[in-house]
Amino acid sequence: MKNYSVFDILGPIMIGPSSSHTAGAARIGKIARELADDSFYRVTFYLHGSFAKTYKGHGTDKALVAGILGMNPSDERIRDSLQIAKDKGIEIEFIEEDLGYVHPNTVKILFHYKNLEDYYVIGSSIGGGNVIITNINGTDIEFSGDYPTILIKYNDRKGVISRISSILSNHDINIATMKVTRENKIATMITELDSAIEDGIIDEIASLEEIIYITGINPIER
């Protein structure tokens, strides 16, 4: 049996009306923003399942936009996020779409740039404000945003994993989980860590010659 804390029963302090449709949506938006370059000028949200059917009534649209603007799920400005995006000159678009065999509360967030290629993140809100990110730019992945997380794409050669883990251990960082997949000799690694990511670490790993792409995010508040 789970050991409950008083704050599991009285809490979280949250913006209503629904932890999965509002708080979870804001978290997916914020994780996507942390992953993407923040010079986007337009964002398209593809809403699937229950997100598509009830997004207006639950304020899922406002929560997602708040997230991509960098707000946390407990931010009282969430209800005004559409206006805030407009004031910042960011174009927002919502499209109801069948994203296939995914969780009913799923969204694909597509960032558009003037000088960079489009970037997208797919995530699902799985209840109680918990989320999972399942795809970035076509690469299937899975992480929750509960831990500091590093995502790396690299040319698969011997010893890369060990070099990455040495860098982490030199910074006194313990690896909580690590998952590596490979397609066409390009490996994708998702590493969840026990302590926060500092800027230097990402740069140090990025300097390894095999690295194609790297990004890191710290945990997103509930």
């Binding site: 008083v6 302090i13 009306p17």
Partner: protein, 287 residues
């Protein structure tokens, strides 16, 4: 330290302590956080509850869907200007419960207690006894620990999720949490606290979760209003000495079994009950 109501009663009697004191001891032991930090976190909860309970009493707060709202201020003004049937206490409590529900539905800040859908009941009950018995913020904070302790027992042995157990598991349990706290704050025994909690759940045994259009609004807000009334009358019954024939743990077990017997259409899917009425279906189309 305790998994059930009977274990909680035993612990309280052995140590000659209130439920709130035992819950605080348990929390300090399990979480490892310091006493001051624990109290500060609960103060933050109290502050948010206070804001949400009062926010809609003097202004019309309408939901994001525009389907519901503006009822907290109606009840508050009715109470202030009319000779009401139930008196100031019940009307004020209902107004506060509606206020939090309306804040939630309008994307304001609330505390899930135990869920967002039932978030109006515990604060409305506690602020009602605070006014009635001239209690301090510290008293109300201890009441919050009592309420949380009761909720933990239900979450451990049954469920507090509408999708799993229907509204009885959300609003019913919120009322039970509130009633136990009210009894303790009014000087009742540990046994009376649990009797009051039992009455609350018995009163709404089988209550289904049937939100119109799948939104946490209607009938949710109404059930927060009736839920706080349920908590207050159950507390009075227990304080008067009425005992529950069936003990709390068995009532919780019964509630859980009934929840499992409910078809999926009556567990938050918005496919049955009030959601599946002509008007309910029509409202869904409109938003």
């Amino acid at each position: 330290m305790f998994n059930t109501g009977s274990e909680l009663i035993k612990l309280c009697n052995e140590k000659n302590k209130k439920i709130s004191e035992i819950v605080i001891e348990k929390e300090l032991l399990n979480s490892g956080i310091k006493y001051d930090e624990l109290m500060n976190r609960m103060k933050e909860i109290l502050k948010t509850m206070e804001n949400s309970s009062k926010y809609s009493l003097d202004k019309e707060v309408v939901s994001v869907s525009r389907l519901t709202g503006g009822n907290a201020i109606k009840v508050e003004e009715y109470k202030n200007t009319h000779k009401t049937i139930c008196g100031d206490i019940i009307n004020s409590a209902m107004a506060m419960a509606l206020s939090t529900s309306e804040v939630n539905a309008s994307m304001g800040k609330i505390v899930a207690a135990p869920t967002a859908g039932a978030s109006g009941i515990v604060p409305a009950a506690l602020f009602t006894v605070k006014n009635r018995l001239n209690l301090s913020d510290e008293d109300i904070i201890s009441g919050l620990f009592t309420a949380a302790g009761i909720g933990e027992i239900v979450a451990r042995n049954a469920t507090v999720s509408g999708a799993e157990g229907g509204c009885q598991a959300e609003c019913g349990v919120a009322s039970a949490m509130a009633a136990a706290a009210v009894v303790e704050l009014a000087g009742g025994s540990v046994e009376s606290s649990l009797d009051a909690a039992s009455f609350c759940i018995i009163n709404v045994m089988g209550l289904v979760c049937d939100p119109v259009a799948g939104l946490v609004e209607y009938p949710c807000a109404l059930r927060n209003a009736s839920g706080v009334a349920n908590a207050l009358i159950s507390a009075d019954l227990a304080l008067a000495g009425v005992k529950s024939l069936v003990p709390f743990d068995e009532v919780v077990e019964a509630m859980y079994k009934v929840g499992k017997l409910l078809p999926e259409s009556l567990r938050e899917t918005a496919l049955g009950g009030i959601a599946d009425t002509e008007t309910g279906r029509e409202a869904k189309k409109r938003i």
